[in-house]
Symmetry: C2
Subunit: 235 residues, 2 copies
DNA sequence: GGGATACAATGACATGTATCAAGGCAAAAA
DNA sequence: TTTTTGCCTTGATACATGTCATTGTATCCC
């Protein structure tokens, strides 16, 4: 299933960028003592839509997708998660079941922090809870923007926007142009909110127009300014 | 512009349902002393997308829409606000400009709470900030569900869903079937995320099918179970 | 290696929805 | 009243996009 290995939070390479960077030192020690870190293989599910949350997950290393599954079974990816991010907090805070499924996009190392501890520290540590609010606000802002674009922009623009979003989230490889994640065409489509075939067709167009280069699941962004123009980003 | 009238928070009819129901009594007194309550006419803008926030707004009475304006000028309604709700907190917490415009759907009475006071109380009052997180989580959950539905459901289903959403938010009139708000066809379309003409056409269909009754801007829900079925709600 | 399986790509087609245009109706203004 | 204005409504049309079907192409496993 998953191999535990417990790196100390105090040495976590993301301790300065994650939500816990603002946390009190004592609290960080408590978290470190209680957390359990596990390894997940690519494709493995960390938690399932509909299940009850027992804590939050903090990504030590790897990449995760969070997705809803619609009535017809098609999935909609609602968030991409990277090292240093936490996930599963929404269900925990609103005391409801998970509304999304978390799946590893590559082999990942993920820490689990028990519910009670996380909530009690949130009660005590004002700067941590403030940081939590900042994260929630920012996610909400992104979600509302996505709603507007889904309602108003054609697929072509949304695909271009999605490529830029992936770059922002996961960055580029050493060559400075290849997106640093491998997604299937279907996953890209589920991120854009369109049919797989449409995503494929438009990616081919983008390639023909010299905006991108395709090599299997590798995507190189050749002409970012043109992609930005295609995305029609004035917002 | 707007006529100030300052009802005491301690007697506010929504003090038990709003976010402040969990707030400490001392803090509530502070808020009461600092807040400014104003009256807004229907159609009046409370704050504008792109402006900097100086505080949060708490609805004393009335109904408000929060909307993004897309690139082409078309608006997308992202939230409906009612008495007891607060708005403008997202921009405040993430320390950014407003991403939406707030417009009164009817004559409303709205209190303004200055930024510094709100933030400082949020720092001190753990249960208030916890309540704030609950609200944010819940809004985020709704937004993500909307994203999935926009991406996957046809307009017909989304319109049915929107009618149910309006009922949930603003409730019904005394007759037990008329939606307790007057929205233009354009506003309904901007809530659904479709063209005005499409919304009109589908409303006519719903009427023909006996699900609803239309009388100007009044909408009566005649057959709620059938509307639920049309909305295809299994989620 | 060679079959099997999953994924990618492309074409043909159907259709939901947006867009454009024109007319109707009702409330407000002159 | 008549005019004006703002919405609502309906029809005709075009187009983007989803769906279905087929072939090609890697990748995995026995």
């Amino acid at each position: 299933m998953s191999i535990p290995n417990n790196p100390a939070c105090q040495n976590c390479k993301d301790r300065f960028s994650s939500i816990f960077c603002k946390a009190d030192h004592n609290n960080l020690e408590q978290i470190d003592a209680a957390k359990v870190c596990s390894a997940y293989k690519k494709g493995q599910v960390i938690f399932h839509e509909g299940a009850y949350p027992f804590g939050v997950f903090c990504i030590n290393d790897g990449k995760i997708k969070l997705s809803h599954s619609g009535d017809d079974g098609r999935e909609q990816i609602v968030r991409l998660v990277k090292a240093g991010d936490i996930m599963g907090y929404k269900a925990l805070l609103s005391n409801e079941r998970y509304t999304a499924t978390a799946t590893a996009l590559e082999d990942s190392s993920i820490c689990f922090i028990p519910k009670d501890l996380f909530l009690s520290i949130l009660q005590k540590d004002a700067s941590l809870s403030f940081e939590m609010m900042r994260i929630l606000s920012s996610e909400l802002r992104k979600a509302e923007l996505k709603i507007t674009h889904l309602a108003q922009k054609p697929v072509r623009e949304r695909l271009a926007e999605t490529l830029l979003f992936i770059r922002e989230t996961y960055g580029l490889e050493e060559d400075g142009s290849t997106l640093n994640v491998r997604l299937s065409r279907e996953e890209i489509a589920n991120l854009v909110g369109t049919a797989t075939e449409s995503a494929i067709r438009l990616l081919s167009e983008f390639k023909k127009d010299g905006m991108i280069e395709l090599d299997g699941k590798k995507i190189r962004l050749l002409d970012v300014p043109e992609i930005i123009r295609t995305a029609n980003l004035h917002d």
